[in-house]
Amino acid sequence: MKTLNKISILALTSLLVLSSCETTELDLSSNPNALSPSQAGADLFINEIQVDFAYMVNGLSGVGSRLTRINQLGGERLYRDAYSPNSFSGTWSQAYQQMGEDIRVMKTLAAESGLTYYIGMGEVIQAYTLLTLVDFFGDIPYSEALLGAENLNPALDSGQSVYNAALAMLDSAINNFSQGGASPQYDMYYGGDASGWIKAANSIKKKALLNLGDYAGYNSITNYITDSSDDFQFQWGTNAINPDNRHPMYRSSYSNTGAGVYQSNWYMNRMMVGRNGMRDPRINYIFYRQVSATPGTDGPVDEVSLECSVPGFYIEPHRVAYGLYCNLTEGYWGRDHGNDEGIPPDGFKRTIAGVYPAGGAFDDSSYLSLGLGDGLGGLGITPILLNSWMHFMNAEVAVMTGGDPTTETLAGIRSSMNKVDDIAGAPSMDAASIDSYIANFAADWTAASSLGAKLELWAEEYWIASQGGGIENYNSYRRNGYPQNLQPMIEPDPGQFPLSMWYPQNLAANNSNVNQKSDVSGRVFWNSNGPSVD
């Protein structure tokens, strides 16, 4: 009996041990919660790359446009704190870990399948990204970047060498687009038209050569964006949830709790004042007013919603001297450059982004409180390089090479008018008013006594044509210093206007070859002799 018992116990024990086999397996290191890199597809990569590119351009456009008063810079009174190292960490990840690495892997996969079109797209996107990162940060990692474990601390390459590499990459892209390879299912920029991409690549080359001061090189490129139909831009959608594909400017203006951002008083005022007494007809497209009058000007004082509308409210003398501060008439209710005050309950009162380019509402003087879903629902565009901008750049090159900027400036204005007019879902602009505006501009232009005064007008129009952008404006402002009469910072002593940005926190903190800058006064390589700007 005892033996029997022992055998039973032994059997019982073995049974339990055998059933425990699943607890003794030791090769469980692969992650079942994601794909493995070997399961990647070029088509799926090119989708993500294109979307990420749009977000990255939109993000840096926001930085450029706020510094140049196209949009309102809020939150900080000192330029060195306007953008912190942390505020660029997301962009840096997007540029390298997401787009950069995705393009690198995608190109390998595409090369195996002869997908030259895909490679071209990757090259254009990468080249634009590299140029823009140099424009914002100066020297950046390139030759040692994207090596994974082989190099965890990529050294910085000079901005010049990155520019050279990007220009070569654009040539390679043009060559790839000329191969006749198949386009991907989703070409979110040119819908499968290789010639559009080639024009975009050439236009990017031109704007880079302009930064470099290589006017001959600039002028030698002729197959670029010479018609708005070839504009390099990204089209957003109207789906709010999962995925959210609405224009980011729309998201921040149209919500259930009112607008989350302010519009720039300087910019709105520029359009209200217009030319030779004529208001800019684009104003009803770019802005939407939720109220018909602004407290303190043509509306009753409203301390609750606009504190500075109260008579006797303290305004710093330098702002009073500039002449534009606090509020504009007619419900154009924005904020001044650098205003960092708290947020009153004005979300359904302040001016919000209009139909162009954010895909919001056309201002038909209905003065409604708009929110989620109103207007075009976010069906807007993010411009990357527009035909109008090329005209403005051409005008600058004309000046730099001793020519007359008039023709190109007027062409730029007209192109911009047509661009704004062409946005779907808004009443079309009266052709006569476009002509009239251009005529009035021409009158001001003719009256301008000096080249400087003309360039001020040129730059202001460039700025108005650039709503939704900002990267080229930040470059242009540093390059030539126009417009010179922008609204000053609220803080009388705001420190140096950022001539380049702090290195992103995730670069400076994690890369032993990179030290954070001590300030934002360093100029990027092509801007070493740039004018002083504030």
Partner: protein, 1079 residues
């Protein structure tokens, strides 16, 4: 099958067996003649034994000539030969208190004097009948070296337990819970992160504290070596009443115990709201978030008489405003014709007076807690059992918060006649936890719905209870603010919920075979499986959070988590010669862990308040699977020389499944020595009764979690949408898989001294430890230009040191009057020694620029954030508007002021007093947690919004201390709102950080044992009644007085972060009565 059947028969029949022996009865008492209940009476040389009943009586079958051994913890064991008589009364003499037997790792029992490391014990009386159903919170303050942080006063919310400070920041620092010898899952599965509402219980909530017999805390590595890597953060060794039966250590005769309690559960942290000023800014009225508006007095510079909105000019009635809902009317909020549906009209008014919104919302809850235990054994003591049922119904003071728990446990043990002992426990629990969402909140609104975030700063002139919360047609949230920018708290209560319903089964079986008197082999099987059903929802029409949240969501997922554990252990016990004896244990263990999460998240609600997936437009999968296996072999040998010198050597090797083959194993030894000089030295006239010195060296390892060496590729099926079609995309994984990753090695040196002095009136235990974490696993953030943003790697080192002191003082030891005091004191600090070449600082919890950072040379518990801008000599720089400038550089190397705090307290001390007189007993537990910082969204908002009594003095200008940019002393006058709002809320993080020192009356109790003679005619053997209170008083004396701030809050959830609070919790106080009956 046959043997199983036999087993069952034996089990059932054992109680019927009897032997041809005589019955001896008697009473076991202490030297004063008081009976000793629960003393063990054992027939020497056998395993036959009984324990005495409540009156010290025993009855045992024994043959003449055999000896009976009488033993009781704390008393000298005595053996008496059985003669011809049938009655043996024994008086046991007081033994040395430290010669107790305690349970160490893997259930191995040892004399405490033989241990070379620190072990804290907490007994039943310190755990049972408490208001909290959470064993970790009950343990708070009762053992040195243990730091317990509540996530807040939400009943059922998570709890963080840290023993001896942090030793890593890449893995959990929470200790291992072992219940009845089986590893017990104690993790906290939050629903979302701290920004989206980290509701979720810590799974030790599945234990009923009333079912716990004792808790031993193994603090050091040497103590926990045999538990392997899992024991690296210390071990909380819990013996349940079922488990104590199963282990045979504390079997009693048949007995039923009923323990029932009722407590009131109230908000402890209600601020002192000021009664002088209402909603507005700069003494002007407005429907703002802030409370810097006019006075509730009519006259004076700030009086409402000057306000056209209030003085009757607008409303027609002085002292009244127009109702906010008709001054806010717009198409998006509420149209005029809907007002009657809310009982309002265009003439409705709103009285200008202070309202008690917080008092109206947070009503006292109640806790009803009942536990019934049956236990007993056969007459020969060979078969014993325990059945325990517990029920907890805890209604929180937060509306929508409740915790219900049912627990059922069985334990049994049978000594078979064939040298086999079988024992087992089986536990089932069901825990149902519900709470409104409590996401991180800032000064206005929150990252997602947050009840607390939207309540506490309600302006004084706004009454939550008086304002309808739902749009009469859409059901959407409506509230007083004109852009409807705040979610009405009552809307949150009525339209949102986070719930976790958890079924859990755990327990184990052991089979022991005695090979000889000196050698046995034990096989153990442990299992712990829980199924946690999580439900979160919010109806459409909310205000906080993303568009997606506002569209309504419904999320349902299940976490099934299991641990299976097999263990085989050979135990030996040999006398080597007359001086030396040795015990050894050799074993092997396999642990399989599996975690499977599955569910669906739906967004875009169609019909309001219908909470089924079909009613939502979008569905997304919720999925995660993880499994990890660990194999371990271990051995331990203990040598005992003449009962005064003890040496223990142990080692363990583990293999783990989620690392590469060459790096998956690690061996870690330990050694300890205990020396009892009082056994061999004569201390002469010194009042030394007992003295022991000990030293140990222990090691352990930290294995990474998840899949750290795998490289992945992401797939997103909803990357974008073009023409109504979702676009699918690939993107490369951000984690660089590191196949060279290996486990962290922890080493610890510990020294201790234990002494009993002054006729055992004072006992003291002091420990010092120094622990080093080598090859620290760091989730190293990478420069994204490498192509990756993160990798797990072994660089760096952390050193932790600390002291633990336990003192027990018996001031008065009388027949009727007794007074004793127990004090414990803990201090420890973990310092980052090395982070590798590439990194100066790594933020491991919180946001990138505001959180806990590891910085070389600084404590691991450091907090970084933006700081006040300073000039070269460190003076604060004031900007042109008169407010502090801000320095956004949060890198300590370039801005030392970025270090805004350290959340580790300087020390924690607990003082427990027990004073008894006859049947009355009075006790209290007082806690002092001194030092440590807290970044508080709660305090900054209450002050910044001008709510509490701290801000009532406000009609004069302020000048901030500091210098202007030209170096001159600041002379810019600013007003109250700019001072508080413009600096505390808008300014740098540094200003939102306070010293979190706190004094607390943790527990206070008065209990009465009903005299036995009163019970003679009742069926009850014992009865006691206790009145208790918890957290009835505290004072965080360095925080603003009017906020009544309680810093014991884990704002970042149960993780390694600390010192940050985003309105995630407010503390509770509880008081009530308990009744305990035994029959």
């Amino acid at each position: 099958m046959k043997s199983l059947f036999r087993l069952l028969v034996v089990f059932l029949l054992t109680t019927q067996l009897s032997f041809a022996q005589k019955t001896v009865t008697g009473v076991v008492s202490d030297p004063d003649g008081l009976p000793l209940p629960g003393a063990t009476v054992l027939v020497q040389g056998t395993t036959t034994g009984v324990t005495t009943d409540f009156d010290g009586n025993f009855s045992i079958n024994v043959s003449e000539g055999q000896s009976l051994e009488f033993s009781f913890v704390g008393y000298e064991t005595s053996a008496i030969a059985v003669g011809s008589g049938n009655v043996i009364n024994v008086s046991l003499s007081l033994g040395n208190q430290l010669e107790e037997v305690i349970v160490t790792s893997l259930g191995i029992t040892r004399e405490k004097r033989a241990l070379g490391y620190a072990v804290s014990e907490v007994d039943e009386s310190q755990i049972e009948s408490r208001a909290s159903g959470d064993v970790a919170r009950v343990l708070s303050g009762k053992a040195s070296g243990v730091q317990v942080t509540n996530q807040g006063g939400i009943s059922g919310s998570g709890t963080s337990v840290i023993i001896r400070g942090l030793s890593t920041f890449s893995s959990s620092n929470q200790p291992l819970f072992v219940v009845d010898g089986v590893p017990f899952q104690s993790e906290t599965n939050s629903q979302g992160s701290f920004t989206s509402g980290n509701n979720g219980s810590s799974r030790f909530l599945d234990l009923d504290p009333n079912n716990i017999e004792s808790v031993n805390v193994l603090k050091g590595l040497a103590a926990a070596t045999l538990y392997g890597s899992q024991g690296r953060n210390g071990v909380i060794l819990i013996t349940t009443k079922a488990g104590s039966t199963a282990s045979g250590t504390n079997a009693l005769k048949n007995e039923v115990t009923i323990n029932t309690s009722y407590f009131s559960n109230e908000l402890a942290m209600k601020p002192d709201y000021q009664m002088q000023y209402g909603n507005g800014f700069n003494q002007n009225f407005g429907w703002y978030f802030s409370n810097w508006g006019p006075s509730f007095d009519e006259g004076g510079p700030a009086g409402w008489g000057k306000q056209s909105q209030i003085n009757g000019a607008v409303s027609g009635q002085p002292g009244f405003l127009k109702h906010p809902y008709n001054s806010n009317l717009n198409a998006r909020f509420l149209s005029r014709d809907l007002l009657p549906l809310l009982g309002l009209s265009m003439d409705s008014l709103w009285e200008w007076k202070p309202y008690d919104s917080v008092g109206d919302l947070f009503q006292p809850g109640s806790i009803v807690n009942t536990n019934i235990a049956f236990r007993g054994q056969s007459d020969d003591g060979k078969v014993s059992y325990n059945v325990n049922y517990g029920n907890l119904d805890d209604q929180g003071f937060t509306p929508g918060n409740s915790l219900r728990r049912n627990t059922l446990s069985f334990g049994g043990r049978a000594v078979l006649s064939n040298k086999i002992t079988v024992a087992g426990t089986l536990n089932y629990s069901f825990v149902d936890f519900k709470s409104p969402p409590i996401a991180a909140a800032y000064s206005s609104g929150s990252s997602d719905s947050s009840l607390y975030g939207n309540v506490f700063y309600t302006p004084r002139s706004v009454g939550i209870a008086q304002l309808p919360y739902a749009h009469p047609i859409t059901g959407a949230s409506i509230y007083y603010r004109s852009s409807n920018g705040i979610q009405h708290p009552l809307w949150t209560v009525n339209n949102t919920q986070d719930a976790q319903a958890t079924h859990r089964v755990y327990g184990g079986t052991t089979v022991q075979y005695d090979i000889s008197d000196n050698l046995n082999v034990v096989y153990g099987y442990g299992y712990d499986v829980y199924s946690e059903d999580n439900t979160s929802y919010q109806n459409k029409g909310g205000v906080d959070g993303s568009v997606e949240t506002q569209s309504g969501f419904y999320e349902k997922f299940n976490n099934t988590s299991s641990i299976f554990n097999h263990k085989i252990l050979i135990n030996g016990d040999y006398e080597l010669d007359s001086d030396w004896s040795m015990t050894f244990n050799v074993g092997a263990e396999s642990i399989g862990e599996e975690y499977d999460r599955n569910g669906t998240r739906s967004t875009g609600q169609n019909v309001f308040n219908v909470l089924r997936h079909f009613n939502f437009n979008n569905q997304e999968e919720i999925e995660y699977y993880g499994s990890k296996n660990t194999l371990g072999v271990f051995g331990q040998a203990s040598l005992d020389y003449q009962n005064y010198l003890y040496i223990t050597l142990a080692t363990r090797t583990d293999w783990v499944s989620n690392l590469s083959e060459e790096n998956r194993s690690i061996t870690y030894p330990s050694a300890s020595i205990a020396f009892v000089p009082s056994s061999i030295l004569d201390f002469g006239n010194l009042p030394v009764d007992f003295l022991k010195v000990r030293a140990s060296y222990g090691t352990s390892a930290t294995f990474p979690g998840g899949y750290p060496i795998a490289s992945t590729l992401n797939l997103d099926t909803k990357s974008f949408r073009i023409d109504g079609v979702d676009v699918t995309s690939n993107t490369t994984g951000s984690r660089l898989g590191n196949t060279a990753l290996k486990p962290e090695l922890l080493e610890e040196l510990e020294f201790g001294i234990e002494a009993n002095l002054f006729d055992n009136r004072l006992s003291a235990e002091i420990s010092y430890f120094n622990r080093t974490t080598n090859d620290l696993i760091i989730d190293q953030p990478l420069d994204p230009s490498t192509g990756y943003t993160i990798t797990s790697t072994n660089i760096g080192q952390i050193d932790a040191t600390g002291w633990e002191v336990d003192l027990n003082l018996n001031w008065i030891r009388g027949d009727k009057f007794n007074w004793s005091t127990a004090i414990n004191y803990t201090t420890n600090q973990s310092v980052v020694v090395d982070l590798g070449q590439n990194t100066d600082q790594i933020t491991y919890a919180g946001f990138g620029s505001l959180g806990n950072a590891a910085i070389v040379g600084l404590p691991l518990t450091s907090m970084i954030g933006t700081s006040v801008g300073r000039d070269a000599s460190g003076r604060p720089l004031i900007d042109a508007s008169g407010s502090y400038t801000s320095n956004n550089d949060t890198n300590y190397k370039t801005n030392k002021y970025a270090l805004i705090g350290d959340y580790n307290p300087d020390f924690i001390a607990n003082v427990a007093n027990t004073i008894s007189y006859g049947n009355l007993s009075f006790g209290f537990l007082f806690n002092a947690t001194i030092g440590g910082d807290m970044y508080s969204s709660y305090m900054m908002t209450l002050l910044g919004r001008g709510i509490t009594t701290d801000t009532v003095d406000r009609e004069l200008p302020y000048i901030l201390p500091g210098v202007l940019s030209d170096g001159s002393v600041n002379n810019k006058m600013i007003d109250n709102a700019t001072t508080y709002f413009g600096n505390l809320i808008v300014g740098p993080d540094e200003l939102r950080t306070w010293d979190a020192s706190v004094l607390r009356l943790s527990e206070i109790s008065l209990s009465y044992d009903v005299p036995k003679k009163w019970l003679d005619r009742t069926p009850f053997g014992a009865a006691s009644l206790t009145a208790q209170g918890f957290n009835l008083w505290y004072d965080a004396y360095n925080t603003p007085e009017g906020t009544n701030y309680d810093p014991n809050i884990a704002g970042l959830g149960v993780g390694n972060g600390g010192g940050f609070e985003y309105f995630n919790g407010v503390s509770a106080k509880k008081y009530g009565v308990s009744l305990k009956l035994t029959f």
